[in-house]
Each structure stands twice: as structure tokens, then as C-alpha cells.
Symmetry: C2
Subunit: 260 residues, 2 copies
């Protein structure tokens, strides 16, 4: 299989935007951008010198690869509508199985999943972002591997089952972690405290796991089984039942996971 | 009040160890270290050129300040036993009220609370660690402020009520965040995945909140209300009911906190 030069995107969300921009900066040609919203397609297309369309049948067969980067629920539908079944195609989802391509009539396909929290606007350094690759054949794998290696020095071979679990793990490590920050930030706001006070702690907590396992790194009242403090905290949260419930459950989880 | 030169520690745990070591490196004299375990007292005393004792009545009155750094539950007892009621004394707890000194007969007291996750062994750069200071009087406040300023360029005036809430916020931002890492790490181990894959994501998630609020920074299935993915994840966690329950509750919390 020849190496990738020309790329079209199906989707123009956070992942598509960051990926297209990064690939464009590495001298790939971005050919067409499809989105059901022509406005969104156009915003991205202008950034990467591509053509925009909101009509999937206008996607031509001139790209070497088609990167599907739409919400998980929408993947099936765009695969049904996309008619160039002979072309190399991948999606960037952490959860959708690779077999979805086969059941929609494709023959050359794979997964091209950048494991990172991507927003449309924040600039991203892809160099250290892990790419999780899976492919229908060794030839396709090698092509995807080469493409990912142009962006990142961390390319992993991850099968569909592993990828699903990895995605759950990523939800804990990223989205749920961010919700802990959100709760901390709200407690600060409610008590006239500058959230900045907590930022060194947040950074240190993240940096610690580069050298220690999370289990070794754990500190605090739950780890110490300091039930007096835990009870005080639960009482302090009595005006926010949902957060209080979370406090109790995570505390219990820490007690269970650090006792072995 | 004269500025601090000589310091004795009541306690030899993580916070005492890091604080004594940092103060020692800033040319403070560390005079005595008390711990109920003479082994622990000795380990720290040897690091900071101090005397060790496991008998609290052996603490003499030659220090300018006594830093109480024992578990919250033990503070009351050591304060009862410590007889030099006229001396300047502080504790380093995030939760125990300052009034505990008054009820135990002290006159010059305050709080000297470094807001960080401290282990005995990992080296710590105190420069960016926030110190939360509270004091019985403006004079004591100024003394504590000057001492903290030798270690850190982030010294905050935080009253006892604020400090309690700040401590709960810190538990979410640090201990609970670390538990999210722990869960992610366990999911990786269970599925033959290298936890290293998630580390760039963890760092990016922490670094993001330096420039965005946690609410703005949030991504993922709960934020997108992608219930199909959420259900898949819940099913994947069916062998670990406690973690599954956490997943559901935090997802619901994100949906509530991002919808406004």
C-alpha cells in the first residue's frame, strides 16, 4: 500500500480539527472536509486549505485515506452514506469497534485513535500524544503506523477490546479527574477562596504518578483511615448532597484500594 | 515579636519531615524532634542536625516556635502534654481549628498549613507551595508570614472556616484525583495495557486548568451526554460493582455541573 499523502475528513469537531491541523502542518494535503454543518466544515477547511462540503456524496475518491471523526453515534450513518467502499478508511473513536467498517462494506480499514483531551481551540503538541492503531491487515497497519509516526513518537498497537477498556480508563484519568477539579473549584468559589491556591497541588498530584504508582502516591484522610476528618468533611458538604455522596463513595473506594 | 531562628517539631511524619528539611536548608536551626516513636524522631533528627526524643516532657523551651505536625486526632493530646504554654506554637493541619490552642492554655499560636501532597521521601520544592497562615494576633501573623515567605512565594491569609473548606477541596483535587488515576491504572493492568499510555493525558488534564476553568476544560461522554458510550462503559465495568457505581455517580455529577 502506498504511503499517505492526501487526506479527507468526515467530521469537523475537536478531534478532526486538531488532527487535520497537525497533519496539514506536517505537509499532508487535506483534500475535503465533510460536516453536516457547512459552517463547521468551512471553518476547518479554511484552516487547512481544503474544500468544505455538507453533502457526503460530494466526497470524491481522490484522498488516500478518509478519517472519520464524528460522534460515536453518527459513525454508522456516515459509513452507510459514504460510497467509496474501496478506499482506505479509519475512525478516531475510543469505543466503536473496528468491525463497523466490515459490516458497512469496506475492505481497507483501521483505527487511528489519539488518546488525548482535545478542544477545538487549545493548541496541541501531538509529539507526545499516544496514537492507538488497529488495522484489518498488516499492510494497512504499517500505513497507519507510518502516518501516526509523523505526528507522534508514541504509537501503540491496541486491539478493539483493549481500546474499549482504555477508553473507560481515560474517562477516569481525564474527565472524572477534571470533575474532581470542578468540585474543588466550586468549593473554593463558595468560600471566597482563590482556586489558584489549589493549582500547585493539582500539578504535583499529576506529576507524582510519573515516578510512583497511584497506589504508592496516595495520601490524605481516606488513606490514613482518619475517620474523624472524613466525618467532618461529610458534614461540611451537607448542603450539596450529590457531592457529599461522591465524597463518601470515593473515600470508601480509596480505603478498599489501599488496604491490600 | 522577634523573628524565628530556632524551631522544634512535635511530630516526624510526612509534613514534619518535609518542613523540617526545607527550613533546615534555609538556615533555620532545628532544635528538637519529638515523636512517640523514637526511631522516627531519630531518622528526622539526623537529617536536620537536631536532637530526638520520644518523651514530650523532654522538649525544652529553647525554641522560638514549636511546629505540631501529628495526625489530627493526636493534636489535642500533645497540646495537653506540652507544658511550655507561653511559647509560640502552630499546627500544620488542614482541618483542626485554631481554638484548640486556646482551650489548651496557649497564648501565642497560629496555623502554618502547607497545601501540598507530601510524602516523606519525594523531594519537594516548597517555592510554589501555598502556605495558609492564620494567627491569634497581627504580631504572630507577621512572624509566621515572614517564616513562610522564606520557603514559599505563595503565602495566603486563610481563616479557620475557609481552611476547613479548602481542605475538603484539596481532598477532591488531590486524593480523589489520585484515586481516579488508581482506577485507570487498574483497568490498564487488567487489560494488559501499559499505564504509561495514559500519562500524557493525565498531565494535559492537569495543565489545562492553568488556562481554563474545569468547567470549560471538560470533555468526554458525560459532557457530550453520549448515553450510548456511557452505557457501554457501565457494562464494561460490570465485574467491579464499586467502580461501576462511581462511574455512574461521577457521570451524573458531570451532566449536572456542565448543563448550567
Amino acid at each position: 500500500m502506498k504511503s499517505i499523502k492526501t487526506i479527507s475528513f468526515i467530521g469537523s469537531g475537536n478531534v478532526a480539527t486538531q488532527l487535520a491541523t497537525a497533519l496539514f502542518s506536517k505537509q499532508f494535503l487535506i483534500h475535503q472536509i465533510y460536516s453536516k454543518s457547512i459552517e463547521n466544515a468551512t471553518v476547518l477547511a479554511e484552516k487547512v486549505n481544503a474544500d468544505a462540503t455538507s453533502n457526503i456524496s460530494e466526497l470524491n475518491n481522490k484522498a488516500d485515506i478518509y478519517i472519520v471523526s464524528v460522534t460515536d453515534d453518527a459513525i454508522e450513518q456516515v459509513l452507510q452514506q459514504f460510497t467509496h467502499k474501496e478506499k482506505l478508511i479509519v475512525h478516531t473513536s475510543g469505543t466503536v469497534e473496528m468491525d463497523i467498517f466490515k459490516t458497512n462494506g469496506f475492505v481497507a480499514y483501521g483505527i487511528f485513535y489519539p488518546l488525548q483531551t482535545l478542544s477545538k481551540t487549545s493548541p496541541v503538541d501531538f509529539t507526545t500524544i499516544p496514537f492507538c492503531i488497529e488495522a484489518v491487515s498488516p499492510t494497512v497497519f504499517e500505513t497507519l503506523n507510518q502516518t501516526a509516526a509523523q505526528l507522534s513518537n508514541r504509537v501503540y498497537s491496541i486491539n478493539s477490546i483493549q481500546r474499549k477498556h482504555l477508553h473507560v480508563a481515560a474517562v477516569f484519568a481525564c474527565n472524572f479527574t477534571n470533575e474532581m477539579y470542578q468540585i474543588a473549584s466550586k468549593i473554593c468559589a463558595d468560600n471566597n477562596l482563590d482556586f489558584d491556591i489549589l493549582k500547585p497541588l493539582i500539578l504535583e498530584t499529576a506529576n507524582k504518578i510519573l515516578i510512583k504508582s497511584p497506589k504508592e502516591a496516595q495520601t490524605g484522610p481516606a488513606k490514613r483511615k482518619d475517620f474523624k476528618t472524613i466525618e467532618k468533611h461529610i458534614k461540611l458538604l451537607e448542603n450539596d448532597i450529590k457531592t457529599q455522596e461522591l465524597y463518601t463513595l470515593i473515600t470508601q473506594h480509596i480505603i478498599n484500594s489501599t488496604q491490600n
